[in-house]
Symmetry: C3
Subunit: 148 residues, 3 copies
Amino acid sequence: MRKGTYPILLGLWLSALMLLAAPLAAQAADASAKAPPRVVVQMADGTPDKQGLLLANVNNLINHYGQGKVTVEVVALGPGLSLLYKDNPLSPRIRELASRGVHFKACENTMKAQGKKLSDLNPVSEPVPSGIAYIVDRQAAGWLYYRP
Amino acid sequence: MRKGTYPILLGLWLSALMLLAAPLAAQAADASAKAPPRVVVQMADGTPDKQGLLLANVNNLINHYGQGKVTVEVVALGPGLSLLYKDNPLSPRIRELASRGVHFKACENTMKAQGKKLSDLNPVSEPVPSGIAYIVDRQAAGWLYYRP
Amino acid sequence: MRKGTYPILLGLWLSALMLLAAPLAAQAADASAKAPPRVVVQMADGTPDKQGLLLANVNNLINHYGQGKVTVEVVALGPGLSLLYKDNPLSPRIRELASRGVHFKACENTMKAQGKKLSDLNPVSEPVPSGIAYIVDRQAAGWLYYRP
């Protein structure tokens, strides 16, 4: 080949590579939509009916995607913190969901307002400083939001 | 021109093209924000007041954007499934919204739990296996979420 | 250096630059997730308990991120419009939050339905044509959604 041919070939190769770059970048930015869904579920209600419904919802969600194929966190705040009270009759179902990988977050602002310590709550409870800020942060990080 | 000039020109052209690639890719990834909005609306309440309000909300949404310029799906689940019961007094308004392009999805998990068959529901109803998973999937696909 | 060397160096430089382009583009598309969060909060309930809880939530949100490091808008619609009635006992707390940068939007569709003029509402109120469309538009523009 002639001396000037190599740079031209290099240019063509670069050109082809670049045509791939734009869609790849778009795909990277869109990746969260294709990964297993991560869902932050809000528990803000204090009635047994609504709390039972939330646990049924979460259970359906895991059955639908398959265990390990969806990430679910329940954030209990305001009147919904009672979901995580030690003496809540739903505790066995909460423990079962926890054993299937569901995380249960307790809002510390609410704990303070209701005079509850971590030792008053279901042992699966994980404290977070602010329930609403936690939900907002999760959404900002690409999590999906569900409010039963 | 001299023999070595062409590869340099090619290189400059590639360089210019590449400067365009990054913003274009970002734009592509952001495209969903500019398209007509797609909204998944959750109906989880069983009271006539809240169900009437939801239909008014959806009606306002379509009037605001203009028919055909917004896509709306209502997902009825839990106590909210009663929205789609055949004998719900709101049925005429539901049929009217359906005629304007709104889709009404019925959660099959809830249908099972409430002992309802598709033939017990408003003929506009479209069954989905899990209402919550449907809402999550829609969000993952870029739909916006509204919980009245 | 030999005459053919420059185009090759240019090609290598382009190649390196291009390897940077894809992640940069992805980052640009993802930028909203790293900026200070913007949160649209929905007030659709008319009970004093739920309205007080909403204000506490918003207060916690601002305390958590720090004033000026989070943007919060409250959209009052349906029965929730009463939050912005002039005679609502929560008015002092609303004014205080407004002074900390929180915006309060009043749904004009609801105002019409409830026979209220802007002069009947808290002076901080900013009217929007449709509360639900406003919430949907904000989400489409990258805002995060919170429904107490």
